[in-house]
Symmetry: D2
Subunit: 358 residues, 4 copies
Amino acid sequence: MNAFGRKFRISVFGESHGAAVGAVLDGVPAGTELDEQDLERDLIRRKSGAFGTTRRKEEDRPQILSGVLGGHATGAPLAIVFRNRDVRSSDYTLFKEVPRPGHADFVAGVKWHDFNDPRGGGHFSGRLTLPVVAAGAVAKKILSPKMTVSACLVSVGGVGRAEALARAMERGAASDGPDENIGSGDPSQCRFSDSELWRPELESALAEGDSLGGVCECTATGVPVGLGEPFFDSVESLISHAVFSIPGVRGIEFGDGFRAASMRGSEHNDPIVSADGRSPRNGAGGVNGGITNGNPLVFRVAFKPTSSIRKLQHTYNFTSGKVEDLEIPGRHDVCFALRSPVIVEAMTALVLADLSLL
Amino acid sequence: MNAFGRKFRISVFGESHGAAVGAVLDGVPAGTELDEQDLERDLIRRKSGAFGTTRRKEEDRPQILSGVLGGHATGAPLAIVFRNRDVRSSDYTLFKEVPRPGHADFVAGVKWHDFNDPRGGGHFSGRLTLPVVAAGAVAKKILSPKMTVSACLVSVGGVGRAEALARAMERGAASDGPDENIGSGDPSQCRFSDSELWRPELESALAEGDSLGGVCECTATGVPVGLGEPFFDSVESLISHAVFSIPGVRGIEFGDGFRAASMRGSEHNDPIVSADGRSPRNGAGGVNGGITNGNPLVFRVAFKPTSSIRKLQHTYNFTSGKVEDLEIPGRHDVCFALRSPVIVEAMTALVLADLSLL
Amino acid sequence: MNAFGRKFRISVFGESHGAAVGAVLDGVPAGTELDEQDLERDLIRRKSGAFGTTRRKEEDRPQILSGVLGGHATGAPLAIVFRNRDVRSSDYTLFKEVPRPGHADFVAGVKWHDFNDPRGGGHFSGRLTLPVVAAGAVAKKILSPKMTVSACLVSVGGVGRAEALARAMERGAASDGPDENIGSGDPSQCRFSDSELWRPELESALAEGDSLGGVCECTATGVPVGLGEPFFDSVESLISHAVFSIPGVRGIEFGDGFRAASMRGSEHNDPIVSADGRSPRNGAGGVNGGITNGNPLVFRVAFKPTSSIRKLQHTYNFTSGKVEDLEIPGRHDVCFALRSPVIVEAMTALVLADLSLL
Amino acid sequence: MNAFGRKFRISVFGESHGAAVGAVLDGVPAGTELDEQDLERDLIRRKSGAFGTTRRKEEDRPQILSGVLGGHATGAPLAIVFRNRDVRSSDYTLFKEVPRPGHADFVAGVKWHDFNDPRGGGHFSGRLTLPVVAAGAVAKKILSPKMTVSACLVSVGGVGRAEALARAMERGAASDGPDENIGSGDPSQCRFSDSELWRPELESALAEGDSLGGVCECTATGVPVGLGEPFFDSVESLISHAVFSIPGVRGIEFGDGFRAASMRGSEHNDPIVSADGRSPRNGAGGVNGGITNGNPLVFRVAFKPTSSIRKLQHTYNFTSGKVEDLEIPGRHDVCFALRSPVIVEAMTALVLADLSLL
């Protein structure tokens, strides 16, 4: 179902080219300070416009319909709505007949008996992440100031951030010192525009009508010991559940992640060095037995390259019954992973807010 | 909470050294053919005893307390219990004072105010996967014969299956031809004992009192188009939620997984080539937009090395207030990943059974 | 939480004098025929305006923000919003200081630390039943044509419908024959305006600045055998759960209800007389062991008299610390039970739609 | 599904004549003092044996399989099992063919395609209330000492408790003063054996092979202001949901209940008379707007007469296709309502424990 959470709960609704997208948040603690401006900072981070992102421009102004009075949450459900405006639906009518590779066109048609809304991806659109980001901003207010959640791209198109940064400095695109905080558990400090760092890869893909993927790392600090359950609501279970709802995610790993499978126990085990559970290494990514251990929560998310590409592809035409050529027009991100960090943060904040209120 | 599923639901309970471990399954369709022997095949696969696994021997005989009559599920909840017998609790009393690196000793103590059961890992023990495997066997009966779920180790200690196999054939340990089905979407056909394939790595780790991790690949075939929801109950969300409940999982990836983040859209997109949605490549791992697309569901799970090792480690002693040496006695798997495939299958079958009944 | 349902799920939001009230419906089957006009019939029945109901006038026009395209549900969540317009908030500011007897003023203030929205009852207002009625209309479309749900007042202010009808005919207010269908399992056929039938009681209460309660009977026909679960999701459990969410409900009883407690088994037991489970008596109200038995589902709901009355009352003043006189101004229903039948129908339809889709 | 609760959750399983009945309790706070003796007091109250109850004798000894160590809850799920022993299954084989009036035989057969366990009512048996009572005893430990929950019969076979008491004193069966606490909000003080009070009614019904119903009143004291949610998890919603899971319930009403529908607002409204929300009248039964108001929670539950009676009945024979005579042999309660108070208390305690832990 289109809802998630136990005590702090989000329900999302909407379609890319319908009247609106939105979310209902249930369980926001009464008294949480909130107004529409509070959501702005994160909504701007999600916005398109940077090099490598779609040229669709939406004002993305949230309307809070309920649950807030005089700048505070009332305790009742909070409904947030975003009206859709810059919509060009004629682009999409074809895709019930010729489903786009990598998209949900085919599965939505089968699942919903061709009653699905195909315009702009309908309910499957990345535009649904807009209310998620707004909800995440509310969740961050609940966690604040104790916990912080921040995410950052660590690679795009297979090129790591350190390498991209070195190149950018060489070509003078990044002049005020290294963004050394990456990997240090504080990705909120990523000081350089991601689209600037990976501009060569993005330009090359754009020129070829192709697209790129990327990997996003998320870190939460200030997380107390004891959040999560051994079975089935481990912290990793809940975060991965939320994160795999973001369109285009292919994988998630915590701490040492897949690398842990090649390590020995004596390398991977985190020694505890203080009474508050701190470990200098944090190969577990801040979780033992499904429960937070007081170290920063660290995980990485793999995003696939944007499915909609200008480059010629082949797919099945359900009318002709043949495999045919397909060129996808319209406005698309070359690399939607560029916009992913704030979405990953939002999902993480939703989970942590729920767990911390239980 | 210790439960999972919407229409087909599992609740687990029990501790490693308590009276029993077990599960309650709600929503088993009336008429499903079932008896205790049906669970045997998978329970044996999970059992310890192979080279590289613990020497703790449990009979692991399930008692079905309810929900089955005359060889069929009745429609009422099915309770399965396994009594614990081969228990040596004196091994564990120390670990409230000196929490083991990589274990839940510390977090459980904080979360449950030192009322947690520390014996054998208590409720955090891998022994809880025993009722999960039994439940998975029931889920497979629900899916059968249409869908199959099978998993297999694809690497141990950083050595891939193909390489391990080539070596094993060389030394004469595997003589009846390659287990070529790995990677072909049918890991159920893994014909060689995993502990035989990776015997050199296991022997070396055992000799050093150390442990190994591994990667398990799971494939489900016969999955119809249309299972899962776009938000928040995508197939990947539900499977990762279930899989991260297995102790020791560090990562999960679907289809091309993390590799997708380095690919271009034109490489990663799966062209559809027939009216039933088939794609020759399946880089999406059988899911688009969170919904199954009719291709085999394929994902990989990274398991960390066993946390309990004989080799000397350091950790904090809460009585002395100092970091001290720790040697862990007792009977442990050198590589618990060896026992993981049937557990991963069980979790997958639980999710697919729930989705297919909704 | 402000949500209900397992496969067909409603979340409500909004406040009486805020921007809007609304609901998100998840799980509407793709292809269900729907448009805003479909909701009209029931929304009009809920509307105020009849004698004995409040003079607050709202246009009550639903906006469907998502989930419907071309007159059909798409399969994605359906969001319905009603903007509030005819709002006079100055009436309500007093009630944080002097909580009204029978209202949620006091409990909401304590629960939500005085951040609750007091205007018009805020989230506790009967206005929240507006999106419930709209959702119920959607649920009825799902049930249609197989199942029908209809409710009718059977007493107001202690005067039964039959007696009220006889009196009304006597005074010429009801001239076209008895509404004999009441009690026959088909309350949809109530042909007389309820406010006309009980006009004497309503006029008397209005004159005295007082209010009246009533009892509503609901019948669902065409319900198949087998909906509901023995524990804990019996049909009575789910319906009572939903019905007690309606503000002002004091009791619910199925079939013979409280009268059954004075009967003998030989009187109360329903003999089965045909292979489809029919019983001539239906003292069980259509449910055995928590599961529908194929007979009409019949239950009655007791509504208290409207809490807001003009007549002088006493209550505690939290500023003065004394019990003081209170006169409540504003526009209120003399008997909100007059508007309850369509709300009870809506809750019933929501439950039956959920059960029939599982 | 056979589970209930959000943070403190019960799952029940078992059949009357199967191997066992039991429950899994998830969310018991670590450190709650508990052992098997703690459950005894309530289990004895539920036991048969008093005049008017079945002669089936079960030891009803609970086995706690998990979640308790050294007399305290560990924080992990608590599984309680009761083995069935005194089983006479030959009594029941007939009822698939000739479903008993008032029983679930027919609906279970249809719902579960004749795979249901018919022996002793199977999963529909009142025996399932045994683990519920044990779970309720755990819930009471969580609520204790702040909150108390107690229930008492207020009428049997249509004869009120006061009248029954007066008669009993007259005939010398109740000699040590009136049980005046009934109606005073403290039914825990019911000092007289219920089966003694209503002995004349019970004897008469027994002689005729018939059965009786009754009404049970439940009161919870010490309930803080603020438990429950306006929509959909009102306190009345949750309690009625739980209570209607008890076999044989026909109605529930809070405070003035159905009588409120005949009252005027000026009579029914509870004036608040102190800063802690107290009202001298409590016609609301301790709840406003779905949220507890600090006054005792008071509600009544109507139980039907036992369905299984010796007296001749008629029902449909699915083999012959005719309505035929039926005499039900076996051991049954003349009035199972005699055993209901502790079950109603258990359900109430489960709800209050869940709400108080959220």
